[in-house]
């Protein structure tokens, strides 16, 4: 591999690329964290759900709707879809072992993926996002408006979510239903609906992530598959049940692997994934709950 010499301008550019990439992981990681926080399940279908809703947006826009008209419609569809999936597919296994539920989400991922190929075909599509693809010059470094938009949306979402979980009764009930469904019922929480709501919210977050990501990586049924892997990593890094952790973890991961891949010759592009794994493993050994997560202490 022939490598270009080091320049500060490139470093700045790589940093920007890393942050943007991280924000992309963060978007999906947020959805993963929300499902985990509200249902204690790891959702392998999260990527596929996001892609599916993005395809719906694409179809709507193909029929002449503008992004901003399509946007709320898609979010509503995503929410309804998330709730419906929980009610129809996950409800029957609500009390089954975690592994069973994880596998059901996997089945869902395969189903949705196939369905997308059948409906929309496997080819890549162009998706026009809400942000201009213009680049602006920031101190000699061209940065696209789109990138700035993506980062801003991730940060905005996490602030909203943090407020929601911290200050609303519903946010608390969502968490309670996840950690202890029996007792939640005893205090009057409709646990089934809470789980469904969790799926709905996660689907909405996934839809937003999908619509942010698609303009960058192009839309196709497999769009999210690699990103989902990194999003899992980001979620674990930040702490599986911490929305803030998802975003910080995502951006940290994006920056770290971009810079490692660029400047550490041995790692290059091939060992990015193993390097990320090592990074996370070391962190977890020090902090078993991730950067922002809390490990539940169980005492006797």
């Amino acid at each position: 591999m022939l490598v270009a010499a080091f320049t500060w301008a490139e470093l700045a550019q790589q940093l920007a690329a890393g942050i943007r990439e991280g924000a992309i992981y963060a978007g999906l990681a947020l959805a993963i964290v929300i499902i985990y926080r509200t249902t204690r399940v790891i959702n392998f279908a999260q990527g596929e759900m996001a892609t599916f809703t993005t395809f719906i947006a694409w179809s709507l826009m193909n029929h002449g709707l503008s992004f901003w008209t399509a946007f709320p419609v898609v979010l509503a569809i995503a929410f309804a879809g998330g709730v419906a999936i929980e009610r129809v597919v996950l409800r029957p296994v609500e009390n089954a072992p975690v592994l069973t539920i994880v596998i059901v989400t996997l089945g869902l991922a395969l189903l949705l993926n196939g369905l997308m190929s059948v409906i929309w075909g496997g080819a890549n599509r162009q998706f026009h996002g809400p942000f201009s693809t213009r680049t602006i010059d920031v101190g000699g470094v061209p940065i696209s408006v789109q990138d700035i938009g993506i980062v801003a949306v991730s940060v905005g979402l996490v602030v909203l979510l943090a407020l929601f979980f911290r200050f609303t009764k519903l946010g608390l009930a969502l968490r309670a239903a996840a950690v202890n469904p029996e007792s939640s019922r005893l205090v009057g929480i409709r646990v089934g609906w809470m789980l469904a709501l969790g799926w709905g919210i996660a689907a909405v977050l996934g839809a937003v992530a999908g619509m942010m990501i698609a303009p960058v990586v192009f839309l196709d049924p497999n769009m999210m598959q690699t990103i989902l892997l990194y999003a899992f990593a980001a979620a674990v890094l930040g702490g599986l049940d911490s929305p803030i952790g998802a975003v910080v973890g995502g951006i940290l991961l994006g920056v770290t692997i971009t810079l490692l891949g660029r400047y550490v010759g041995f790692i290059g592009s091939t060992l990015k994934l193993p390097a990320a794994l090592m990074l996370i493993l070391v962190l977890l050994l020090v902090r078993p709950g991730g950067l922002f997560g809390r490990v539940a202490v169980r005492r006797v």
Partner: protein, 340 residues
Amino acid sequence: MRSRLWLELSGFTLLALAVAALPRFISDFRARELAIVGMYFIALIGLSILTGYSGQISLGHGAFMAIGGYTTAVLSVNGVYGHQIRDLWTIPIAGVIAGLAGLLVGVPALRLSGLYLALITFGIAVSFPQLPKKFDHFLGGTTGKILDLAKPPFGLATTPNNWMYYLTWGIALVLLGAAWLLVRGKTGRALKAIRDSEVAAASSGVKLATYKTLAFGISAFYAGVAGSLYAIANAYVNPDVFPIILSVYLVVGLAVGGLESLVGLIAGAGLIYFLQNHADTVARWINQLPALNLDPKQPGIPSMIFGVVLIVVMLLLPTGAGGVARRLFGSLTTRFYTRS
């Protein structure tokens, strides 16, 4: 529980007889298919010891299969100091090397819990295929390593497929027996104790670190043997032979078989193979339903079928085939009071 013991022993004997007799009744290619099912079965036994008994979820067992497969490939293609080793003898070595890798992973796993461990092991499954790409001089990169086709040894007069069948299922039965001895004795109880309450297990004198790492090692050993056989059967390894999804399929097999049911895992192994390779058969069944016409050759349809079958199977058997068997025959019913 003497009766239980007899039941299990006679079940095992029956299984062994069935395995020995089956090739007489099936085509040569079916024997190959069943051999591959046997390989999944071996890997699943290992996974069951780890996840079903010691309670540590691994979504990365495909990586241990890959280690086994690559060990066999390297030993039989590159050889040791130029001496190529016959594929048959690489199998135990592959198991041991994968087992050592398992011990290595088991140590940090001690500090991880639940889904964190699951996702870290998933990370291993994701990362592992990068290693042969990076160290391509030794491990063959994406080009992979081409082995000699499996041939029956000692001039045995049987087809390669039959040979793979007997080899795989012979090993599977031995390893099944070993696993059975392991889990029904002191070790198995210690593992289950850890799974159910680490604190109480420790206070009862169970050394958590030892047993948990041991479970990882044993489990990886099984996966390594399975991977080695898989490499021999395909006469080829490259990173794509052990894709990420393989690890996930293994967990599927475990869930379908039932976490604690060794024999139920055969059903899990069968399902993994069947779904990957017989989507057209399933499509034919589905198309019996009125108003449905799935074309299994249309891209996307096989995935859909796989997905739907997975969901349906899990909805019907939330605790797996073994779970159902236990509910029908077993005396131990573990139910929580809000359920059932």
